[in-house]
Symmetry: C2
Subunit: 435 residues, 2 copies
């Protein structure tokens, strides 16, 4: 977006210390909420005016939920707080020496800076792949993916070319983490219940869904039991899972794998993420594309620049390479940092962050999910699916859209129907795609 | 969208007569549904894969409803009918001499053709205006408008330039028909209940909403009583209504009116529509940008090309210039034409179309609406609003999204909140805009 000259990033001066938060994701939002009664001026910056409930992006991409159901306006969080300011701007860099950030509409000084920029898709340096695959980290990605998948089938009914047809009927998902597994599950439900009704001209026995994973198991962040169970579910759903397989290239609708090729016009990239680090941070504070922070989430080498969530790497005995890049970590760090700010402002000693692992989960589809509970318990099947559903609806509360999501899910469950398989914007690959 | 060479518009040959319907709007959809048990091959073509509930577009544009709530997948209509074919293509022209239509993916022959292309925004030949204003005829328009309005306020908090600020705070709606009146009402609710909470930095007493109408009254298609009542409501809501005023130009954020100028960065164009006529039709069949049809909806000069809805002009004693361009007319013509096809195929005489006017209505906002009932009754206020709400929810049934719409409305009514004020796609004026 071209920014007209008359714009500038002006925040009223005050006697209060100014805390600038970059990013309104799970971490930034929790922090901002936690600072409500703190004697500080809070400035939240985000390139979007909404928070995204990322764990359900795959539902939008596969026509299960409407995009607005998993997004909530950020300004709502700030209502009634005279010392709170939201600005929809893109941060282009940080100048820690001057206590200043740079944005597309000008600079802004801070007393305290919190980097909560989350993570972006990791293409592992392969620009060709980046240009041609479909990521799934933002709402626009999910909408693009939904349009791409549906346009593909609309085009499939218009072709007599068997090679092209098969390319359109093959969908490749790269990366067997929660996103990859959940996308595959949702796609297999579309294949089974929705697409054959919508496209009676097509033979869906020829539709193949591939899940390509580089390591020897699925759901690496979860227990081995859950990884094994999800693999069983994937096979039951007819997903072609290829473990120990790397994607080496993607050109002319052919994916080159470490073993063999697959023709496909749809490659969904959920192979990994990396910290979304703004420019200007000293390289010594960066490790594995994340910002190294101490136990107070303070970026090493600084005393007023903090980082929370996916972008932060806090090493501990239990997590020598930092915490997993998950929403609960970001939320807990946001809550904790807010408390530490309060303590700091009232002259009390800050407390170190400790992650409370409430468990993790992934869903594969109707009645099929895996849950790792604290204490080493594993749950699978219908019970796991109900837990997954309950937790997600619980977290969507406050979004106000819980009713809509619930409606959609109940409807979808009872009727095997999905309501939002609409191509709202025609999507062209390699154009206008974010990272 | 660039169409690859391997695509073609192929429909299986059959012994049944082929009815090709262009457009899945109110008319085309009713016709397709009505033909379900007819011995014919039915081919529906639309550039979108969804039907749009156009009367509620203004709700999407003003963040009251989600886009998916007013759109329904077209393929669903066709499920289980082996002689039905939907193709998502753009029709580029008609060749009545060869009984053939031309599309972006090739040609298709027909035995019977029904043109149900609806209407497009009428800029009355002013290309400068067309480039700079915001229309409201399609879902993408509504999304663009929502993004534009919200981006405007996001930018307003970033400017210190008073002239620019006032341009951003002025919204001009051109055209005092139902769309213009409804948009103004929704904008005034945003101004009163939502925006001051979301943007505490801005002074909303400086936000002006103008409604510019060329004739001497509002709601020209309705009774004088309803026009007068809507004018009273507009004034009560603080809308600046200027009757007998023409828009002569729009340049450098200044709208030139027949009397005076207004600075504004947002001009919403609801000044009129015209028939969306495909190329290739003989000029003798076109009058006032609509296709002249006989009482059987057959385009004059043809015996197998029909037109229904907004694009059709059926002259009668009661409607010497054709029926009003409204959804009920299109729906009734669709239903009627389906019956006539059935009669025709079974050798019976066709019956002429007669429009049954069930009344018309427009809503201005919470508790404020006007309804013209058959028989010359006029209803206004809360009762009219309840009738409006009831009818719209009734018609949304079958869309399946009625529950979502109802949720949103109930929520919005109880809390004075609107949920979907999200800028999902950054919108730039003068780019990628349809007509």
């Amino acid at each position: 977006m071209a920014i007209p000259e008359h714009l500038s990033l002006t925040i009223p001066e005050s006697n209060l210390p100014r805390i600038v938060i970059i990013g309104g994701g799970f971490g930034g939002l929790k922090l901002a909420k936690g600072l409500r009664k703190t004697k500080a001026q809070v400035v939240l910056l985000d390139r979007n005016n909404f928070h995204t409930f990322q764990p359900l992006l795959y539902q939008v991409a596969t026509a299960g939920l409407e995009p607005d159901s998993i997004a909530g306006p950020l300004r709502q969080t700030f209502e009634g707080n005279p010392n709170y300011f939201f600005r929809m701007v893109k941060v282009t860099g940080i100048n820690p020496g001057n206590n200043e950030i740079e944005t597309t509409v000008g600079n802004l000084t801070y007393d305290y800076l919190v980097i909560a920029c989350g993570s972006i898709t990791n293409y592992f340096g392969n620009d060709d792949i980046k240009k041609r695959v479909l990521p799934l980290k933002r709402i626009v990605h999910a909408l693009d993916l939904r349009s791409h998948i549906l346009q593909n089938f609309e085009q499939a009914v218009l072709t007599q070319d068997k090679t092209k047809l098969q390319q359109m009927m093959n969908i490749i998902v790269v990366g067997g983490g929660p996103t990859g597994v959940e996308v595959c599950g949702a796609l297999s439900e579309l294949k089974k219940h929705i697409l054959p009704r919508d496209y009676p001209d097509l033979d869906f026995s020829a539709m193949n869904i591939y899940l390509i994973e580089g390591t020897d198991r699925l759901l690496n962040g979860m227990s081995k039991a859950s990884g094994d169970n999800s693999l069983k579910y994937m096979k039951k759903l007819g997903i072609n899972v290829q473990l120990n397989t790397r994607v080496e290239g993607y050109e002319n609708e052919v994916v080159q794998l470490s073993e063999g090729n697959i023709e496909s016009s749809t490659v969904i990239w959920s192979a990994g993420v990396k910290g979304n680090i703004p420019g200007g941070i000293d390289a010594s504070a960066i490790e594995r594309s994340r910002l190294v922070v101490d136990e107070f989430n303070c970026v090493i080498g600084s005393n007023n620049v903090f980082a929370i969530g996916d972008v932060a790497m806090m090493k501990s005995e239990e997590y020598p390479n930092g915490h997993p890049m998950l929403a609960p970590v970001a939320m807990q760090q946001g809550v904790h940092l807010a408390k530490n700010f309060k303590k700091h402002f009232s002259g009390k000693a800050r407390t170190p962050f400790k992650y409370f692992n409430k468990g993790s989960m992934a869903t594969v589809g109707r009645n099929k999910a895996v849950v790792d509970m604290p204490g080493g318990f594993h749950v699978k099947g219908l019970l796991a699916w109900l837990i997954w559903m309950f937790i997600h609806i619980l977290y969507l509360i406050g979004f106000r859209n819980k009713l809509i999501a619930l409606n959609n899910w109940v409807w979808s469950y009872l009727t095997y129907d999905k309501g939002t398989r609409l191509i709202i914007r025609t999507f062209q690959r390699n154009k206008g795609k974010g990272s």
